[in-house]
């Protein structure tokens, strides 16, 4: 049961204070509680230094040194039957410890088990590519470079994959604003029309709730339509919804509700 907290002033208080919500951790079990994982961990420990290992949500998490990553994944793939690299990317912990956490999510179809190999690298360090072991790492490592700016050694084609090639900044860093920096805000204007067009086009309107009822340039007034650019006085006559002009259209019959026949018998 959840611990009791007084809720009489809960509306008055700010209920969301952390900029980045830190979720509570799921309970961790010792690796010895699962014999398949225990044997796997022993095989890794025999050759490489393991910093930490535990089982969380039925998956084993193994922390290794960043310099061992290719060799550990080779061992795990070739000797321990984890034949698929289902996902890999990085986590930005720069504010906390000045490091990136890189994870490799591995799947064994034979054992029906998943393990996660993790390692830390410093802010300006590079990681070795596992693309020679898993082709799927090709695009994942490019994405990691695109989103975090982590450089990957020995990668065949390390280029941005999601953002444009001439983009500046790494969007998944926690220091990167969600709405983009100045470069992002003016990217398309600068690229298509040039920097001198900024004054003419104007800044982006980021307020999604912005409605100006006196602005007839940007906002339609459904049922009270006026021509674009008209000054709104508030006394605009109601205009009925019409599909055609009053005078009718050349060679086209105007729809007349009076003359039309409404069929009510569905089985006629």
């Amino acid at each position: 049961m959840r611990a009791y907290t007084p809720k009489d002033d809960v509306q008055a208080k700010s209920y969301y204070t952390d900029r980045f919500y830190v979720s509570p951790q799921v309970a961790k079990q010792d690796v010895s509680s699962d014999e398949v994982f225990a044997a796997d961990l022993e095989a890794i420990k025999a050759k490489f230094e393991v910093l930490e290992a535990y089982i969380q949500v039925e998956q084993m998490v193994v922390y290794i040194n960043a310099k061992d990553n290719v060799d550990v994944i080779k061992l795990v793939k070739e000797e321990l039957d984890y034949t698929q690299l289902s996902e890999m990317s990085a986590i930005d912990w720069i504010a906390k410890s000045g490091q990136f956490e890189i994870f490799y999510q591995m799947l064994s179809m034979g054992k029906r088990k998943r393990i996660r190999i993790k390692c830390f690298i410093g802010k300006d360090e590079a990681i070795n590519s596992v693309e020679k072991l898993f082709r799927s790492a090709d695009w994942s490592e490019r994405e990691m470079y695109d989103m975090f700016g982590i450089e990957v050694n020995n990668h065949p084609f390390l280029k941005r994959i999601l953002m444009p090639y001439d983009w500046e900044g790494y969007p998944l860093l926690k220091t990167y604003p969600l709405e983009g920096d100045e470069f992002a805000a003016w990217y398309e204007v600068d690229k298509i029309y040039g920097k001198e067009a900024r004054d003419i086009i104007g800044p982006e309107i980021r307020d999604t709730a912005r409605v100006d009822r006196y602005d007839s340039e940007r906002f339609g007034r459904l049922g009270h339509e006026v021509p674009k650019g008209t000054k709104i006085t508030g006394n605009e006559p109601k205009t009925p919804l019409a599909y055609q002009e009053e005078g009718g259209v050349f060679m086209i019959d105007r729809f007349d509700e009076e003359k039309s026949v409404i069929i009510t018998d569905r089985n006629r």
Binding site: I192, I200, I205, Q244
Partner: protein, 169 residues
Amino acid sequence: MAQHKVNYTQNAGLPVALTTIDKVVNWGRSNSIWALTYGLACCGIEMMASGASRYDFDRYGTIFRASPRQADVMIVAGTLTKKHAEFIKRLYDQMTEPRWVISMGSCANTGGMFNTYATVQGVDRIIPVDLYLPGCAPRPETLQYGVMLLQKKIRAEKAIKSQKTKRLM
């Protein structure tokens, strides 16, 4: 035409209709609005539904074309990313004049819920827009009504004049 038994003298009629050039040109333009297929996201599904048999865009003369050189109207259906912005401008520039743009759905109008670094906050920052359709995504009925409004707008224009080039700036 004797074999078809057309009586031209009936209804005080010769097979002649008198009208102005404006009207006949605008009649042609407004009833054959060929649209450039520009489905960028989920609005594109609604646009495709409008073109399919249930809603039947063909009866408006709206036929989707895969080339900007054959299209009169660009229906921007979906989220425009900043990476794609230069291509929409290039395709718009390739369309022959007179040309029109329908911005379909919240994302194309204002960026919608994607208030992020990667989304253009409204296609009207890149190309001039004639018609904004609200909705997320708009129903095919909305797009049909939008096309009818565009037809109305085309019919209100002077057909015979030097085409005023629409530029954002």
